[in-house]
Amino acid sequence: MKKSIIYLILIMSFVFADDQKKDVDKLKEEIEFLKSAVQQLLEKDKKSQQEVDSLKQEIGKLKNRDQKHEKDHGELKKLRNEVEQLKKTSVKDEDLFSEEDALDPFAEDDVFVEEQLVDPFAEDEQLDSFTEEQQTTEEDPSNAEEYFSEEAELEIEDDFGEEDETEFYLRNAANVQGGYIAEQSRRLTNDVLSVSGFFSLEYSDFQTNSSTVESLFPSEASFNNSHINLYFDARFYENFRFFTELRFLYQPFTEVFELGQVNRSGEVIIERAWAEWEYRDWLKVRGGTFFIPYGIWNLEHGAPILLSTFTPILLRRQIFPERTTGIQANGLVDFEYFDLKYYAWVGNGKVQIEEAALPTQDNQNNKAYGGRLEIQFPYTKVFNELAFGVSAYTGKVQGQEFNGADIQNLIAQVFIAENDVQTIVDLELDGFSAIGEPLDEYLDRAIGFDFRFRFQNFSVQSEFIVNFIKPLKTAVGPLTGVQVKGNSFQEYGAYTQFAYEIDIEQFGLIGLLTPFARLGVVQANNKVSKELGSFREYTFGLNWKVNPAVVLKAEYIIIKFADVDDRDFGAFFSSFNVSF
């Protein structure tokens, strides 16, 4: 029985063992499947973990950016407050005459934005971000102001010290000192030609009780476009420069006589045209047509910077010629406490413009020579605007060739208008023409002294000129037919001008108002033509500098002759000057 049971068990075990093997295989397969599934899951988990990490990083970055944004906003508010405080506390410090005041601060902002768009130094990233920002701003115009200020701060982060400065500048553009910023920002650093100039509209009204004098001046008050001056300044190579000033006097017409009695007059004058070679600061050589370096007025040539409209009669007499064509050397030498400027020139002498084939052509072989020395004290505190000058000139003049200034002609014509031939005869018998000049060739020499000083708002300038004339030839008088040679003589003249500049902003007005007074004396050829050659000139006027580019002037001049009161006259001059 036991044996049968054992056999039975063995048989069953054999039977079931086959089934169990099958189950184990199945299980193994299932385990393998599960293993691969778990592995896949683990990989997925890993990936998702990485995604989570990167998302966390992005969130962190965003958080930092928000914090920075908040910080920037805080600083922005602080800056605004500071600017407001500054505006309240330092209103008096604003320089109303810095030329940049004319700029519109909003325009500055525009310029800034434009500059960013075309800025060659801006990096590509900046440009891209700017474009994006611009698009969002366009979508929401109400954010424009905020956008500009934020953009300005973000954009300039690692500029060289600019981070703070540019922001400050943008907010205070109107207060920053400087001039012609708009003009200059358009200039390239390598430009070779600049064009500038000025325009003057004058109003003149001569007033006199003397019928003979009255007939010689324009009797009607009149407006004149007396100056349209254009400057061209070319620095075409490092050491070379060309400069010219063209003046359209009244109208750009030469004299035109037509059958219909139309007489239009006007001139295009080449005031200056020279080329310069610079060796050092102490030696510059220029050739061409240039103003004779003498005194103050003739060098500071330009209506917008001169206080008065009417040039002192002393200078209109052209004892020193106004300009010449020739060669000039000039330079500046600096010493410990002062600067020394020098000029030396040689050029054509005085010629009568009407008779010369060309105004810049000489009519003799002798040339005129001259020079000037000027000392300035720019490194001192009180006298930094003090200057002394001495000028000299010598040359030969062909008799009666030079008619001087228009005022001299007028003097001669007074005698003619009054049929006072006797005076002219007397002058001829002494060897002089009606205007007091020798009848023939003479040696013409002059020396001039000048000084100017400005202390705070007060300024004074003065010029004194002595003319030495020595007749060289015996001449025949055109009226008398008598051969005569005049004696040497001297004539002199001087003027002194005082001015006081007032900032009229304090009275709620705009600009600088400068009242001025000028006293002039002319003592021409005293021995023979004292009657008309010697007089005093009194000028009282106002100069209103609305801004550095616009100047209005008004003045009244009184001329008092030495001997004859009847011929005294006055004149009112006014002008509107614009420089550009």
């Binding site: 506390t89 030329e99 800034f112 060289f160 540019t166 200059q184 300044d233 060098l299 330009g302 917008p304």
Partner: protein
Amino acid sequence: MKKILNICCVIALVICGCKTTTKTPSEQYAESQKRTLYLVVHQTNPSEKIAVKELRRLYLGKKGKWDHLVVVKRYDYPPLQKAFYEQVLRMTSSEVTRYWNYQKFMAGPPRPFIIKRAKDLISILQKEPGGIAYVTSKNIPKNLKIVAEFEVVRK
């Protein structure tokens, strides 16, 4: 009585002390606007130090060439222009304006170029052997060098 006087003195001293140490908003503002101006030139420029007097001559166009005969190119930086002229060159705004107005009509030297951005200024100076300009950062490229520095209050 003495005690009262002593107490009064102490209170007065304390008040005075407080007054002197407390700064007004405008003083605080001025304090915050302090800057150091660095005068920068090209590395090839032989000048190592530039004094105020020479700087004035350079910026007013009286000195047109460096010692190595390169033409001077002057640049103004508007955010610090007022501080530079007033506190370094000792010239008021109206003096500067008047000076350049006169130079314009007297055919004098050209006024300095105005560069509105410091970054541009540095870029130009790097390419300009005769250039000179002022910035507020010491961190300048290797081919430039600082020849003077001044403490100013930005205005």
